[in-house]
């Protein structure tokens, strides 16, 4: 365990130094972060901007802002921690550099999941946390609500990671998989808004088929104290199941690795 933590520190150091080699990239990344938050805020601005609109789907402006905060935070987690690693899986399979990962006496899934980090997008994390703090400051939040939100958000991150890993792992068979991550981004866009703002059939889809509700709405509900026990239990269970299933899928993929010829 300590070895794995040490390795993560080392990987982080290496990827940080590598990115510092290209300074001009920073500016672009900051603009991208601002663009993201602008679009997200514009969305709820349009919803609540109508005169006389107090709540949307039972959510006040502050509460909805909370969901936007979790959305931005998740965008940050994806662009800083998840996507930089997952996008390299397909490349590694195509070029055959996956060989080196599989040759190391280190869990290969850990290797491909922690090797890279995009520090340029740390801004997204800060913006997300800032939005959550701002939105929560106008609401009554209990200690229990905070702890619950933290646990549920952790489950949410595990779920997001598993979906990305499962989509990226298909590269072992299909080699090129950029469109799979586009698919995720398209569906995940719906997480900007509280799922209860959607019509019932869409809501069901976003909860049970693609667990978008579990990612942003459920942690926000935990903070505001409006979460049902069923959903509170569902999230960690789904996360656990997703982790086991993607693990098996990953192992299956590695076994059928064909390794690009040298």
């Amino acid at each position: 365990m300590t070895r794995y933590l040490r390795l993560m520190r080392l990987f982080t150091g290496a990827t940080l130094s590598a990115q510092l080699e290209y300074r001009a990239n920073f500016l672009g990344a900051i603009l991208a972060s601002l663009g993201e938050v602008g679009v997200a805020l514009l969305g709820i601005g349009v919803l609540f901007g109508q005169p006389g609109t107090e709540t949307v789907g039972g959510w006040t402006f502050r509460e909805a802002l909370l969901v936007t905060g979790f959305f931005m935070l998740t965008e940050g987690v994806i662009s800083v921690f998840i996507q930089p690693n997952m996008s390299k899986i397909a490349e590694a399979v195509r070029t055959g550099s996956m060989d080196f990962t599989l040759l190391k006496p280190l869990d290969a899934q850990f290797g491909v999941s922690t090797r890279h980090l995009n520090v340029l997008r740390v801004g997204d994390l800060l913006i997300g946390l800032g939005l959550i703090a701002y939105a929560a400051s106008g609401l009554t939040v209990t200690g229990g609500g905070l702890a619950g939100a933290a646990v549920l958000y952790l489950s949410a991150v595990v779920i997001v990671y598993c979906i990305w890993l499962a989509l990226s792992t298909t590269a072992f068979w299909f080699v090129k998989t950029q469109n799979a991550s586009e698919l995720f981004n398209g569906v995940f866009g719906a997480a900007r808004f509280p799922v209860t703002a959607f019509p019932v059939p869409v809501r069901a889809l976003l909860t049970f088929v693609v667990p978008v509700a579990l990612i942003t709405t459920v942690p926000a509900q935990a903070l505001t104290g409006t979460l049902t026990p069923a959903l509170a239990l569902a999230s960690p269970l789904v996360a656990g199941a997703a982790f086991v299933l993607t693990r098996l899928f990953w192992l299956r993929a590695v076994a059928s690795y064909t390794s690009a010829s040298s």
Partner: protein, 337 residues
Amino acid sequence: MTTPTPDAAVHVRDLRKSYTVHEKEPGFLGSLRSFVRRQSREVEAVRGVSFDLAPGEVVGFLGPNGAGKTTTLKMLSGLLHPSGGELRVAGFEPRRREADFLRRITLVMGQKQQLIWDLPALDSFLVNQAIYEIPDPQYRATMHEFTEVLGLEGILKKQVRKLSLGERMKCELAAALLHRPRVLFLDEPTIGLDVNMQEAVRAFIRDYNERYGATVILTSHYMADVTALARRILVIDQGQLVFDGDLARLVERGGGGKTVRLQLRRPVTAEALAGYGSDVKVDGLSAELTVPRAEVSPRAARLLADLDVADLTVEDPPIEAVMAELFGRKDREVVRG
């Protein structure tokens, strides 16, 4: 079924690997057709290969492109799962990729790189040190030794992307051997390098083998690599082993004859030499001809008696010629020399 040699470093019996490949006709229409309906075909890359290597043995693994060399090495290092057969490397079953197995082996691929592109090679070494859990004193000792033998001084702190191909290959080798593996799979480690660099890489491999008693399997397109490092040669063709034995035996068996080189005092015509051997080449006062192995002594004696010869040498044909002959043959049975 043969029983495995108990102390073999590498034990291979009837190893097989088949792939499904997709075929596509050229051009856009061909691509479209293949997008709609994939034509696939089973290809047998390795078809029943068997051999054993003793600890510390260095073997050259030769064969034309696509013969199955790389596929075999990838199965030996656990990257590919065999379709059939038996495989033990350093006492482990490679396909299970156990950490203790991976710590004992390395695979160097001349055409792929593991070093972090934007950082100095030292950073990659530190990552490998942590991954392989190499204790600091051992790491320092190994680095010291590699720096000396490979001449890494001065290039370890440059970003990898700024290194020349040769410098990068030296660093790749160092990174791949940092954990002092017992079994080395080297797939074209000198490809694209100039003669001096090739020699440096060879010297390093020889030194490592002698120092640690490591077992080495080496593939190369440069016959000089193989002749300099390996006494034993495995030749694979179309997925099957066609020769396993001494380098000298391979030369003896493969070549239909020896090359006789003459330095003459008076010019002769090619026709005049035709009676002494085949493949006659004349260039001014030097001439070259091929003589059947068994006939070398009497023919040389006749040449010396009949012509005004200043110098006469008898050489084995270059290994390239031996290979060409071997692969041109029809019989495919394994020859053990």
